[in-house]
């Protein structure tokens, strides 16, 4: 077993664990291939069962022979272990370091995890593209499923099955793929049943400096327009950045070649800028000594909420084009795997009531993030405490979840899920026992045989017992398009994520419970009234029958 080589000291006694809002616990620390376990010897229950892959960074320090390891987690939590013995401490630290940064995906926990629950519904088959397509196909015959990418040959980051205009054949799709970044030809992202307008997404067009064009590409996206109608192209880069991209072979749609389309640039930041923003924000939240001015200036300097506002604004704009202007939209940035997906998925949250239900939201994540090829493995490799600056790490998905939370906060009754659902998804995207967020695209997941070798997150989440934790008691289906406010006054810090480990939520939790109780009680009373009413009605008819001869 390879893990054994990495674990020099599997067990240390008299370790003291410090966590926010819990009293310190003394116990025995055990290291396994995937977990760090601490149990106090008194009652033999584990006080801590911590996944190595959730570790973002560790610090160690010594006072005499007493070592201290500070573990900083990807979910922003910080725990401290006091370990007697310098050697033990060094061994534990180096083991944790090695085990939390395993190179091979197949060594990760999901490949070893054996579920303790009975799988009722296999999450790997919960949201198949064919089923999703059926939801549209009753309303339109203008679209078809294409299997052109069956072997991942046309576009390595696309799933095997995509939805494209019916009038465009696979041959044309192959040509278009050569004209779009990463082979990401325009595909259907969302069909607005109300007026038949669509959101499509793609990679940037590879126009280069000499203004290359592709007739098939023009034909493809024009095929989505109704006669005499115009569409909008939302480029998630600034005009400047888009222009610069031409030097590297990329570019944007020229007006001359796409006369029926109006291009709008809505700049959304990417990569290290977002990662740095997260690092700064978490740092600001963790420092409890900041005075008011310093806190506010740090919060501002992190730019996190600026990113939130930018992303939401672009999503509102896309939704607006669809619902208010009755125009179809094509969305892309450079690769079409990050900001593009933030915009397409949030626009759906705004427009589509289904995406605000639990299953609908799961389907949205499956469609617009996992199958659409958001590189989770790269983006979520490190979190707020990382000090190695890799270009590909970025909290793109967390920003999306934060934006969803902002809309949820403004429309607290329109979502079937609650804040805990979003927090859970954040946790699992960064470290999980399930295989759902492993790999960077469907092609990689296929090679890893995740479906056969790991458990899907949805298999676990969609059990009734688990679902109840994530269900919003206030939910009342709302079929309207929901327009959020994007004013800074309306976009607060997501305390449930960023202050989660920095302050006690006891009173807030109690209040939430009380709210749930009131709602539950209401349901109970309603049910009881109905039963009594029926009972009375029955008695009356009985009496009536007895009375009439």
């Amino acid at each position: 077993m390879e893990f054994a080589e990495l674990i020099k000291t599997p067990r240390v006694d008299n370790v003291v664990l410090h966590r926010p809002f819990y009293p310190a616990v003394e116990g025995t620390l055990c290291l396994t291939g995937h977990h760090l376990i601490l149990s106090s010897r008194q009652d033999n229950t584990e006080e801590l069962w911590h996944l190595h892959s959730n570790i973002d960074a560790i610090d160690k320090r010594f006072v005499g022979s007493l070592g201290t390891i500070i573990i900083k987690c990807k979910d922003f939590r910080i725990i401290q272990l006091d370990i007697p013995g310098m050697e033990e401490c060094l061994n534990i630290a180096s083991s944790i370091e090695a085990l939390s940064t395993l190179d091979s995906i197949t060594l990760m926990y999901p490949f070893f995890y054996r579920p303790m629950f009975e799988v009722i519904e296999d999450g790997w088959h919960s949201f198949l593209p064919e089923q999703e397509f059926e939801l549209y196909s009753s309303a339109t015959s203008e679209w078809r499923l294409s299997y052109v990418n069956k072997e991942f040959a046309v576009c390595p980051s696309y799933p095997p099955i995509v939805t494209v205009p019916k009038s465009i054949d696979d041959e044309a799709l192959r040509k278009v793929a050569t004209f779009r970044h990463g082979g990401r030809f325009p595909v259907l992202s969302y069909y607005h049943k109300k007026n038949g307008m669509v959101i499509m997404r793609s990679g940037q067009p590879l126009t280069g400096t000499n203004g290359r064009r592709c007739k098939e590409d023009e034909k493809l996206i024009n095929a989505t327009l109704r006669a005499g109608k115009r569409g909008y192209i939302i480029d998630t880069r600034s005009l400047n950045v888009a222009q610069q991209a031409r030097a590297k072979g990329g570019g944007f749609e020229q007006e001359a070649h796409y006369p029926q389309w109006r291009r709008i640039h809505k700049s959304i930041e990417r990569y290290h800028i977002l990662q740095e923003s997260l690092i700064k924000l978490v740092e600001a939240c963790n420092d409890q000594t900041h005075n008011m001015d310093r806190w506010l200036s740090k919060l501002e300097a992190s730019n996190w909420l600026t990113h939130i506002k930018e992303i939401l604004t672009a999503a509102c704009l896309a939704a607006q084009c669809i619902d208010r202007e009755g125009a179809s939209v094509l969305i892309h940035g450079t690769e079409g795997t990050d900001s593009t997906l933030q915009v397409t998925s949030l626009a759906q949250i705004i427009l589509e009531p289904r995406s605000r239900t639990i299953r609908g939201f799961e389907a949205l994540i499956e469609r617009e993030w996992l199958q659409a090829g958001h590189p989770f493995q790269q983006r979520c490799a490190q979190s707020a405490y990382c000090n190695t600056k890799q270009k590909w790490e970025a909290p793109v998905f967390l920003l999306f979840l934060d934006c969803v939370w902002q809309i949820l906060r403004q429309f607290p009754c329109s979502f079937e899920f609650n804040e805990n659902f979003l927090i859970m998804l954040f946790e699992h995207a960064y470290a999980s026992q399930f295989g759902t967020f492993l790999g960077n695209n469907e092609s990689e997941r296929c090679k890893l045989k995740l479906q056969q070798k790991t458990m899907s997150l949805w298999s676990w989440v969609n059990q009734p017992g688990e679902l109840s934790k994530f269900t919003n008691p206030l939910f009342e289906a709302n079929n309207l398009v929901i327009w959020p406010s994007v004013a800074p006054q309306s976009l607060p810090l997501w305390e449930g994520i960023f202050l989660r480990w920095n302050r006690s939520s006891k009173y807030l939790d109690e209040a939430y419970e009380e709210m749930v109780n009131i709602i539950e009680y209401n349901k109970e009373l309603q049910a009881k009234v109905n039963i009594l009413r029926r009972q009375l009605a029955e008695l009356e008819t009985e009496n009536g029958m007895q009375e009439s001869p």
């Binding site: 409890q288 008011m292 006054q489 810090l493 109690e510």
Partner: protein, 676 residues
Amino acid sequence: MQPSDDVSPTPEPQASWTPLLRARRAALKWAQKSVPGVRGVAGCGPSAQKWPGPRDFLACGQVHKRRPRILMREGGTWGRARAAAPEARYRAVGRADTPRAAGTVKWEVEQVKLLDRFSTSNKSLTGTLYLTATHLLFIDSHQKETWILHHHIASVEKLALTTSGCPLVIQCKNFRTVHFIVPRERDCHDIYNSLLQLSKQAKYEDLYAFSYNPKQNDSERLQGWQLIDLAEEYKRMGVPNSHWQLSDANRDYKICETYPRELYVPRIASKPIIVGSSKFRSKGRFPVLSYYHQDKELNAMANRAAGKGYENEDNYSNIRFQFVGIENIHVMRSSLQKLLEVNGTKGLSVNDFYSGLESSGWLRHIKAVMDAAIFLAKAITVENASVLVHCSDGWDRTSQVCSLGSLLLDSYYRTIKGFMVLIEKDWISFGHKFSERCGHLDGDPKEVSPVFTQFLECVWHLTEQFPQAFEFSEAFLLQIHEHIHSCQFGNFLGNCQKEREELKLKEKTYSLWPFLLEDQKKYLNPLYSSKSHRFTVLEPNTISFNFKFWRNMYHQFDRTLHPRQSVFNIIMNMNEQNEQLEKDIKDLESKIKQRKNKQTDGILTKELLHSVHPESPTLKTSLCFKEQTLLPVNDALRTIEGSSLADNRYSEYAEEFSKSEPAVVSLEYGVARMTC
């Protein structure tokens, strides 16, 4: 001088900017001469029964703030009103050439545009602007009304003429900002001048409270004033007792003009000691009891006093000194001003919002007040120490800290009634200068300061951290804030008890509290748990990240910035529904029992069959429940200020977007919006 003149419902606008002092002297003189009980409310109140038309109703100044909609209906529709006077596109009645007849709208200007405060596309509503003796009223083409009380107006600004008309920007003390465009400059100028005069009264007697008539008789009014009884409150605290006694030293306001008559002092404090102490303290504000904490075997006390400078430590041997840096009223005033400038900016960016929030210092001040109150509460509970709180005069920062400290210590003050008592005790009776701080009269602008607003904001922050500890909700705080400025009730008029007595407020005006108490359903916190927090001392967390911008206060009228669905209202409704359901269940159960009994007795009556409706009212409630929850706070007292019940966001959007092919698509501040 006839008292009836002074309380005339349509006071002649005072052109001169009478200094406050003169106003007060005049008020005192008038009060001495006036005969109690003789008050003219000519042509108002009772005449409401025979509505000649809405215009009359408006002008009589008896706008019944609490039920405007019902009164409107009695008076007929506005459309009819206009038909009755078709020539009145623009009228100026009630001017010098016209008799000051009650029963007229002073101004009426049609085709006025109301701009959306944050819209960059100059989106507007067109309607008619009416000026009455007490309110400025705008009715848009959807019959949505925006009422602005003259006393709420903090500033009126006439901007440079534009092609569409003359812009008029009105900023209110309740943080409403309205931006009108008046087609003709002359009209705009007239409105501007009238508002300047009407919003700045020189005499107390010209304030709304002296003409406001909620149709109660004298005994009802007096009862209202007796609702909050401070003697009762001191008894509740446990004084007088072996340490503390009631002192009659200030019975005639001789020792301290700004203290109430009845004061509690230590038993050992003889009159000479009190007199000596008062000479040593600023404005004679010697240390008196503010709150007596009954706890364990040791009794700890918080008291208040004033002093310029501070005590020489050598002379106070067993006393520890703690300086908490709460800034003075001038700093607070400019801080709020900066805050309002920032949050009123169109197209505000996140960075500008936070840097503005930081540079305004507002949250820093809120935190400082909170920290001081926590220090006080801890000293009393943890160290079992008594605390003397003072600032320079002892009616601003001292009031903030004492009242907030009491709120942390004593769960009684976290109830609706208790909170009223707290305000009466620590703010009103101990001489917080409400009239000066709120600028009720045309006085020294340097005396205006949001000291009480800060207190309310601190309480709001507590309600955010302890969602179950308060019997009241945010709506209660907002309503109180509304009325410290409205001058509609007598409670907050004047600057100290002595002045209030001289103004004979209890005879001539009404107390706010019974009205709030009567409506308390609207202000209840549905999650309040009286048991769990009953005896606990609140220990709020004051790490900076706990302090947030109070959007519902500073943007209370900017509905587009708010959550579209209110959890609070839903839970509130559900609580009410639950009560109804419980009743229904009892009803049904007794009916079933009755049925069964009758069945066994073999006695059947047809009557009973008819007594039960197939569709009970509860069923109906549950059906329309969802609809109700989407509406904004159903708050009649506030409705008059503009948030109409028909204010359904979705239709608002629909209207906004039903526009033809756009040339440019842009996203605006606040809400996603398309421009042409």
